[in-house]
């Protein structure tokens, strides 16, 4: 009987574990291995071991500028998502259960639509023949179309709205699970609405804020298609450099850029968690 149990456990674990190792862990280790090699004109990577792929990127002013722009853009998207998303989440959390479910479903549905479709929607809005430009021209406000597309602002606005539902949903779930008696207690002890919010509600919702921020941030870093369609050739971010290196068959360079991207992702994840300290809050939400 015990032998059968063991066999059953192994039969359950082996297929998913094999898939995760072969299709996730091994490719990433191999990519790291490639990033440590010199380029080769005929093979994927050359035979010499080197750190040059990393040092050349990190000492090049062009790439450092791209890295700064990537972090700046991500920070702007995060800040906007938080400032618009939090009040919306608060509103959603206070709705009665059934209406809350309907609103959350309305927020969840756009997340299932492919990002390329949602980015196309923004191209249709902001383009030279787009909704905003034709609207303003018909109203007589402008004669020539405005260049609303192909700049960093378009990337920020587009990505922010594409990712906003993640922020709203995670914060709303935490707020809805929050015990209202904490707020009532604070008010009974004489705290006004602002003080109650800043000292009770906001700290208690940090788990939702943290997971929302991490989702938005990590998805921003790899949103190549949205960044390309809305930012054009002049607003490239680090992920665009990864893609350009692939198109140029510079495999070791692409691999190193991917790991620099990953290092930025891990560092800023650590910063977000250290600042928000979501683990302070016990027992509610995620």
């Amino acid at each position: 009987m015990k032998g059968l149990r063991n066999l059953w456990a192994w039969a359950l674990l082996t297929p998913p574990l094999a898939a995760a190792v072969v299709l996730f862990v091994v490719p990433l280790l191999y990519l790291f291995y490639i990033s440590l090699h010199a380029a080769s004109p005929s093979e994927i990577y050359g035979s010499t071991l080197t750190l040059e792929n990393y040092t050349s990127v990190l000492s090049d002013g062009f790439y450092l500028g791209i890295i700064r722009r990537t972090i700046g853009t991500a920070a702007a998207i995060l800040a906007l998502c938080l400032f618009i998303g939090y009040p919306v989440a608060y509103f959603v959390a206070l709705l009665p259960t059934r209406r809350r479910m309907i609103v959350l479903l309305l927020l969840l549905f756009p997340l299932m639509v492919s990002n390329v479709v949602r980015a196309y929607g923004w191209v249709a809005l902001l383009g030279r023949r787009g909704v905003i430009n034709t609207g303003l021209r018909d109203l007589g406000v402008i004669d020539l179309p405005l260049d609303l597309l192909y700049n960093t602002e378009a990337v920020v606005v587009g990505l922010m709205t594409i990712l906003l539902p993640y922020m709203v949903i995670t914060i709303a779930n935490t707020l809805a699970a929050l015990d209202r008696r904490y707020e009532e207690a604070a008010q009974a002890l004489g705290a006004g609405p602002v003080r109650t919010f800043l000292h009770v509600t906001l700290p208690l919702s940090t788990p939702g804020i943290a997971s929302g921020m991490l989702l938005v941030f990590l998805l921003t870093l790899s949103a190549y298609v949205t960044i390309t369609l809305l930012g054009g050739p002049r607003s490239k971010l680090l992920v665009s450099m990864v893609y350009d290196s692939v198109v140029g068959f510079q495999w070791p360079r692409a691999a190193a850029l991917a790991f620099i991207l990953l290092a930025i992702a891990l560092t800023l994840t650590g910063v977000i968690l250290a600042v928000l300290r979501p683990n302070r809050v016990q027992g509610i939400g995620r």
Binding site: A20, A124, T161, L164, S222, Y224
Partner: protein, 267 residues
């Protein structure tokens, strides 16, 4: 009602309106223009026509991309559901460091920057000589697996272990217990995991960007290259609308089968 309280309400109210307009307007504009009779983008469209949908199915590359995306989504969702269910059954009642690590490993592709995974798979496939279709399929499986794993795990953990023990004490082996006791109780979780994996695969961009090959392009990548190289032709609006309609149908399906609560919790 104190003034501070009503200011709070005003801020919340306007944030809600702004957020919903920003989130939904781009999608609505795409759907509306798909029915335009004009040659070029014009909003609002001056009439109603289905010509761009006809054009979508007449264009070989669009039709092929659509069928490829459907095939990939059906196959990868099925494989991902099997793998995710196995993993969830194994981990549902286990605690400890190893179980924790395994769970993180199974959930990792959910938050991992997929563009890096796409590049890593591309280079691995190149050195092993993996053809395009199986390569895409395997990538979509890895990306869909965490969704299935998570929904099934939640279902199994909500299950009373006494039911499975009763099955076993009555002489059922592990396989019989699974098919006669566990599966009938968790099938809603399994099915919603499958639908999630289908939706994720159907819209997947970041790995398909690297792994699509000549003649084998998924629908999202075909839309992307049209937008990049052929400008804003309205056949893209039709392609996008087909994508949106399919997702609306699937979400309605999940809602009928398992209810809204589970869809929202599983994100």
């Amino acid at each position: 009602m104190s003034p501070a309280f009503s200011v709070g309400r005003a801020i919340r109210g306007s944030a809600v309106v702004v957020a919903f307009v920003l989130i939904l307007a781009p999608i609505l504009i795409v759907v509306v223009t798909a029915f335009s009779p004009t040659d070029y983008f014009q909003f609002p469209p001056p009439g109603f026509s289905l010509r761009w949908f006809v054009e979508f199915f007449r264009l070989d590359n669009m039709r092929n991309a659509f069928t490829l995306s459907l095939e990939l989504a059906l196959l990868s969702a099925t494989i991902a559901t099997v793998l995710g269910t196995l993993g969830a059954l194994y981990l549902a009642r286990r605690r400890g460091v190893v179980a924790g690590l395994l769970q993180s490993l199974f959930l990792a592709p959910l938050v991992f920057p997929t563009i890096i995974l796409g590049l890593a798979l591309l280079l691995l496939y190149k050195s092993l000589g993996v053809p395009v279709f199986p390569g895409l399929l395997l990538a979509h499986c890895v990306i869909g697996m965490p969704y299935c794993f998570r929904t099934v795990l939640a279902s199994v953990q909500a299950l009373d272990p006494a039911l499975e023990e009763a099955g076993q004490s009555l002489g059922a082996g592990p396989l019989e217990t699974f098919f006669l006791v566990t599966l009938p109780l968790i099938w809603q979780g399994v099915l919603s995991g499958w639908l999630f994996a289908f939706i994720v695969s159907f819209g997947e961009l970041n790995t398909a960007l690297f792994l699509s090959g000549p003649g084998l392009t998924t629908l999202p990548i075909e839309i992307f290259s049209y937008l990049q190289f052929q400008g804003s032709q309205l056949v893209i609006a039709a392609a996008s609308t087909i994508q949106i309609v399919l997702i609306v149908l699937l979400v309605a399906g999940i809602e009928r089968i398992v209810g809204m609560g589970r869809i929202i919790r599983s994100r």
